[in-house]
Point group: C2
Amino acid sequence: MGGGQPVVQNSLTMDEVWELYRPDIEEIESHIRRNLNSEAPLINEIAAHILDGGGKRIRPLLLSLCSRLTGYIPKDDLVLGSLIEFIHTATLLHDDVLDEATLRRGRPTARRIWGNRASILAGDYLYSRAMHHIAAFKNHEVNDAMALACKRLAEGEILQLCANRQPLLPEAEYLRIVEYKTGALLAAACKVGGLMGGVSSLQAEELYRFGLNVGIAFQLADDWLDYTADERNLGKTLGQDLMQGMVTLPLIHVLPRLQADERKSMVAKIERNAIEEGDLLRLTASMHEHGSLGYTRTRSREYIDAALSNLTTFDDSTAKRALIVVADYMVNRDS
Amino acid sequence: MGGGQPVVQNSLTMDEVWELYRPDIEEIESHIRRNLNSEAPLINEIAAHILDGGGKRIRPLLLSLCSRLTGYIPKDDLVLGSLIEFIHTATLLHDDVLDEATLRRGRPTARRIWGNRASILAGDYLYSRAMHHIAAFKNHEVNDAMALACKRLAEGEILQLCANRQPLLPEAEYLRIVEYKTGALLAAACKVGGLMGGVSSLQAEELYRFGLNVGIAFQLADDWLDYTADERNLGKTLGQDLMQGMVTLPLIHVLPRLQADERKSMVAKIERNAIEEGDLLRLTASMHEHGSLGYTRTRSREYIDAALSNLTTFDDSTAKRALIVVADYMVNRDS
């Protein structure tokens, strides 16, 4: 976004947003700890390990901000925020098993400490713990939004699994995976926040779209980062997505633009999981040459613009300004 | 139960129950197929594989019977039955990954055909698909009962994981694991059935207890079968539970009754996962000598008696008689 694009004049910075909502984030943290009350001590231990892993609580923050767009302070937004973080954490636990990951944010993954079985079950528990607590709010729209998000998350993951090493994945299909895998839970967070704050059905739908657009923009920014990270010396290895067989937007954009023989060779290597350092460098050079990275960045910004336009139905407020800052922050991260 | 113990005169047999409810079971099957409508074809394929694996649909049958205790035919019991089967199937998919199982009911497990990743995700999908559809019924008590069951299932599994190779597990702790792992979903099926049929809160609670008691009885019958199966030449290997590190009631009963040195040696071997054929034979002989198998069988029957007493609040009806037959059948299976 750079400067000036937000649709309302916005003097807040992300640091100021964190500062402004620090008491709320702290209360969310305390709900997270209080709700980790399984009768199985191992579940609490595993969940605490990953929940204390330095996540930024973006989903609870978005939920809470959306709940305050109508101007009054709702009652249950912070509890629901803690529960949406449980669901997010459940996906991380299962993801680490699926990816056989050994590190998350620089710390050993739960599966490395407690094994795959315990990680799968702790994930199952966090999902159902959250859904059970959410049911207690007796709000049908909230139940529906949360259960739909969980369904989409699982579908997105499995669609992605099927798309692994499929370099000729159409862009529209890829965007659907991103929508389900990354957008759905953010969309639910924003919609549920709005519902807690008493927005109209139409506004709840706009908040759903807002979260969905922010989520897609966030993932596309991630795709772009993956192929440009080394240029900014961030200690990240370039092209990790591809090395893991993941097909993302820059690759989808560049492949049809390669010479036929090179394209054929790259496609075959990706399908066989045989991409080497040299291939990666050639592909990245081609991405620069054909504007694939710029294209990805532009698409990401378009989704953020769409997200901001979803907020026009709401009057100016601190919460709305903060939402715009958070949306902007999510695609302008450096890592 | 043998003959005569059912609390009402009951001329039905299990075969007659299946025959009587065949159209309902067929409709449940058609709901199962219709609801397998993920946008990810791989999910439908995996789910169909395991759902077509010859399961008896006991949970949907119990749900449906409980919904008819009040004498009228409810509308949504068969759909809900299909959804409870989705949840049960999700647990089987995850169980097979946890146990690294290669066969289920004589067919290759989903994880063997499609891998662990796809099995975990298909399980996640079936859980959340069911919860999303259940939310659409907009019945808070149903939401609560189903979400609680899912939470208990995960807790029971993880408690069992922690109890693996812990031969000195107290009986009460073991029974809690059984209650969560096996009882909770059957309890939810029966309670939800009752709710659909419009029973009172008190009756819904009795149906919950009925399902819980049937579930515990079922598991204890299974524990007993595992140490006696070979005697009836059923082609089942004796003591499979123990060989997999699972501590069950016959073992919990016999261990304190062994001579101190033998007990110490057995405990150490179980903890080290070093039980051999000879140990198993000695343990089984001791179980016969000390009445541990009879004790397990008696406990199982006590839970069935308790279950039957949970039905006394309902007037005599075909559905009630069928419930009694099903409960009896679940602990008098041969395999």
